[in-house]
């Protein structure tokens, strides 16, 4: 049996990416290309009273100025449903320029189209928009009093309130109670490629090149908004320059690009500016989480209360699901979780890497560290004492787990037990050194719809597999070739994965770490169907050496079908096709994912370790090393998986120490709107990272048992760092990010 799966193959698109030949969505040349530029509202609340475009029209080359006064009305506003569920997936249930209302700062109030980029940009700057401004409400400080408990969040998929056992009784039973409030600054995704769409009409047919995590999601959403048949809209997204959640839902710009292109009768390119990335495609909301842990003297949890307060938009009850994994991590019989929201002058927040769990588990894992200190237990020992043998929420068995191995192997690799648990016990010159750990968990949710792929083998034995999914850095083209190779029994070099095109079989948006699992399932299903089809043909073919054999006795290796019987008759796929004068053979595969009611707890686990150096006088925190051990089910490619996990862990570092945006209470606008003001980690911030892979077999989540690695690397890394800061300094800083003033304050 060939085993391409798991091999650390180099990325098949490496050459395109290192030579600059990879084309991203706004790098598609077209004759007569026009350039569009969004104009965002300069106030956060109120309405547009007048738009004076006379100066803008003075700029040479201007083709159109679209505002609420002349932009065509959308056909329908689809509901907000997470894109993993495979339907239309607008980022918010609001479409701009349908009336004069301004709901949030930066909301699109105009779109200017010109023949060059410079002219569009400058004409946009010359547009004079007058506002009637009302007082904005954007911060927790301002909105706390107006909070309500929503019935459901997250597109209606998660309850606003959940409980098990008796929380009050659990607290009653506790010998120790840890009660803490954690605050989180808002975060912005800031992939290096800004969002953007190139739109081209040919008659009534629309072609979009879109930077998206799901070309089908773009297709479905734009078709609904514009009221055009799905058969008339094709979306391409071959390369996407990072997303991290801001391209997981479909925001306004693809539809706006299409409307603009129809208006000017030319192809239109709409690339958001960096500043617009802060106001046009969601964010991780500011939030406050309150945790109460009750435990017995020997560290067994008796109660967990977890409340979250955050702002949402005027249109949607959205909170990132921070109470998901946190409710499942430990065997705690008494639990209460509740979301509270208030309506604010903000766009609807959205997924951002480690959505929900990176904040929810920050709170829980920091609180667990405090409990470990109170009970005098080693933090790993405390977690082992509360290990959940089954899913505490449903009582169902885990589909797979591996958490104990993550603790063990992560601790060994990191050298965890060499620490003196006493805070402030290690100093090197001006630096206090500390170590910390945290557990990590992230759901392995099945997609909501069947996932499809197509496999084709040519008469020369080379293979093409197709599915609609785009490539945004995960290595999907590389690993899906590996999956197809193993399923078909051909060398991986003979397999090519084609992607990023709605003409290919449909795939839900690759979000929430579900991409590798669901796409591999579709590819595996299609490739297996093709293999089975060819074997069936061979055994039925009187001209084949395999004629008459039982298909169950046929194995395929290196593209050669061989019967496990005396003489081992064999024939290559290519020979079978050529002999029958067939240019190719093709099969489709559809994978029907398990339902949400599958009787298993499906969570990916990990353990995070960090060592920090803190200069307590100058307030500087430097992360010196990080180790993460993860149990992501089956690993399709150890090279790309390690890279993704490394990136996630360093995201945790950024969230812990750097990344913050704040709404200005007076203006309701973001304080940071550039990469100079919103700090993401640079090379100098990033230590070397160790990744330990704990492979666990999972027969439930999908055919290959792939649980995904996009998020789990980030979850818990921030808590490990905060716990290390405590170990170094003796101080608990219960907020994200931890900055200089917190250390010296």
């Amino acid at each position: 049996m060939t085993t391409a799966i798991g091999q650390p193959l180099e990325r098949v698109d490496g050459r395109a990416k290192v030579t600059g030949s990879a084309r991203y969505s706004t790098e598609i040349p077209a004759t007569g290309m026009a350039h569009a530029c969004l104009v965002g509202a300069q106030v956060a609340a109120g309405r547009v009273t007048a738009v004076d475009a006379s100066d803008a029209w003075e700029e040479p080359g201007v083709l159109a100025v679209l505002t609420h006064e002349n932009l065509p009305r959308i056909a329908a506003q689809p509901p907000l449903v997470p894109s993993l569920f495979g339907g239309p997936a607008p980022g918010e249930t609001f479409f701009p320029m349908q009336d004069d209302t301004v709901h949030y700062g930066g909301q699109a109030v105009a779109l200017v189209v010109a023949d060059t980029h410079e002219r569009a940009q400058h004409a946009a700057a010359l547009l004079r928009v007058e506002y009637e401004e009302s007082e904005p409400l954007t911060t927790i400080e301002q909105g706390r009093d107006q909070a309500y408990e929503p019935e459901a969040i997250f597109g209606g998929f998660l309850p606003g309130h959940s409980a098990r056992g008796d929380i009050e009784a659990g607290l009653e039973k506790a010998d120790t109670v840890v009660e803490c409030t954690y605050t989180f600054a808002a975060n912005n995704h800031n992939p290096l490629e800004t969002s953007g769409t190139t739109a081209m009409w040919d008659g009534d047919e629309l072609l979009l090149h879109d930077a998206t995590q799901g070309v089908n999601a773009t297709q479905l959403t734009v078709a609904a908004l514009l009221g055009i048949p799905l058969s008339k809209i094709r979306v391409l997204g071959h390369y996407v320059g990072g997303s991290f959640g801001c391209k997981a839902m479909i925001w306004h710009h693809p539809a706006l690009a299409a409307l603009a292109a129809r208006e000017v009768g030319r192809p239109v390119k709409l690339a958001l500016t960096r500043a617009q990335m802060f106001t046009s495609c969601g964010h991780r909301e500011e939030q406050e989480q309150h945790i109460t842990l009750g435990a017995t003297d020997d560290g067994r949890l008796t109660a967990l209360r977890h409340h979250k307060l955050s702002p949402t938009s005027h249109f949607d009850d959205w909170a990132e699901p921070s109470l998901n994994s946190a409710a499942q991590m430990y065997a705690c019989p008494n639990y209460e979780g509740a979301y509270r929201l208030f309506r604010a002058n903000t766009m609807t927040p959205t997924f951002m890497r480690g959505p929900g769990d990176s904040t929810g588990l920050f709170a829980l894992e920091c609180a667990m560290d405090e409990l470990a200190e109170r009970t005098g237990l080693d933090p790993i020992e405390l977690r082992l004492r509360n290990f959940a043998d089954s899913d505490p929420v449903s009582g169902n068995p885990w589909s797979s787990n591996g958490l104990k191995e993550c603790y063990e192997r992560g601790a060994a690799r990191f050298g965890w037990y060499e620490r003196d648990p006493e805070p402030r016990s290690r100093r090197e010159g001006n630096w206090l050194i500390g170590t910390g750990m945290a557990a990590a968990g992230y759901p392995a949710p099945p997609p909501g719809t069947p996932q499809r792929a197509r496999a084709r083998i040519y008469a020369d034995g080379s293979v093409v597999v197709q599915a609609a999914t785009p490539e945004f850095g995960t290595g999907v083209a590389t690993v899906m070739a590996q999956v197809a190779a193993d399923a078909l029994g051909v060398p991986v070099e003979r397999c090519r994965f084609e992607k990023g095109d709605t003409d290919f079989p449909g795939i839900a948006a690759a979000v929430g770490s579900a991409g590798a699992g669901m796409i591999s399932a579709a590819v595996h299903t299609a490739a297996t169907a093709l293999r089975d089809q060819l074997v069936r043909e061979a055994v039925a073919d009187s001209g084949s050496p395999l004629h008459g054999a039982d298909p169950a006795d046929v194995a395929v290796r290196d593209g050669v079908m061989t019967v496990s019987s005396p003489g081992a008759p064999s024939e290559a796929y290519a020979d079978l096709l050529q002999r029958n004068h067939r240019p190719d053979a093709e099969a489709s595969g559809t994978w029907n994912p398990p339902g949400l009611d599958t009787p298993y707890g499906m969570l990916t686990f990990g353990a995070q370790f960090a060592e920090v150096a803190v200069d307590p006088e100058l307030g500087m925190v430097r992360v010196r090393r990080m180790t993460g051990a993860f149990a992501p089910g089956r690993v399709l490619n150890t090279r790309t998986v390690r890279s993704q996990l490394t990136g996630g862990m360093l995201w945790g570092l950024g969230q812990a120490l750097l990344e913050a945006n704040h709404m200005e209470p007076r203006t309701g606008r973001w304080a940071a709107g550039s990469l100079g003001d919103y700090l993401i980690a640079v090379n100098a911030d990033a230590p070397d990272v160790e990744v330990e892979l704990v492979e666990v077999e999972d027969r439930v989540v999908n055919p290959l048992g792939v649980k995904g690695v996009g998020e789990i690397g980030q979850v818990g890394a921030n808590a490990a760092i905060a716990n290390a800061v405590h170990h170094a300094t003796g101080r608990r800083i219960r907020k994200m990010p931890i900055t200089i003033e917190d250390i010296i304050g």
Partner: protein, 175 residues
């Protein structure tokens, strides 16, 4: 095209003033003379991407804050977004497209980036590589701390930083 304000067309004393409308420009890019007609306000980055179809240099911020547009002008790494195309006349511009050999043979740094998996989405990669090659020529590769600091002008949101350092080391050490 229309021009606003008569003062714009006046020549400064002794200086040849060009624009503000499109003017013919010759740029030497990757060893070839390229002629284009652009307004003086066009950045080197937009001239390369929008007019010469060289989309290897990336637009990450257009504000000098990310490094994705890093190219070489007369052999030194600079940011194309904050450089006017006209100011590059008479200078040699090198982009990622000019790094591989004429037969398509990859530069050792390009090979090392692939081998070390020093990228994920690939959007910052051309800038990273142009910086990494320059860094090596500058002699700032003595140790990891130096590489870290001198590669810090190139943001990578996928955070492939440890692997980028590994690629630079590999080229330095000839491994």
């Amino acid at each position: 095209m229309s021009v606003r304000g008569p003062s714009l067309t006046e020549r400064g004393p002794g200086l040849e003033e060009r624009g503000p409308g499109p003017v013919p420009v010759t740029l030497s890019v990757n060893g070839a003379e390229r002629e284009l007609e652009i307004e003086p306000r066009v950045s080197l980055l937009d001239a390369l991407r929008e007019h010469l179809d060289l989309t290897g240099p990336k637009k990450g911020c257009d504000q000098g804050a990310c490094g994705a547009c890093t190219v070489w002008v007369d052999g030194r790494r600079v940011l194309a977004c904050l450089t006017l195309a006209l100011s590059c006349e008479g200078r040699e511009v090198t982009t990622i497209e000019g790094l591989a050999g004429p037969d398509g043979e990859l530069h050792p740094m390009q090979r090392a980036f692939i081998a070390q998996d020093a990228f994920q989405c690939g959007y910052c990669t051309p800038g990273q590589i142009m910086s990494a090659v320059a860094l090596t020529a500058e002699g700032h590769t003595r140790d990891d701390d130096e590489i870290k600091e001198w590669m810090s002008g190139n943001l990578c949101r996928c955070a492939a930083y440890p692997h980028i350092r590994a690629a630079v080391r590999a080229v330095r050490d000839g491994t």
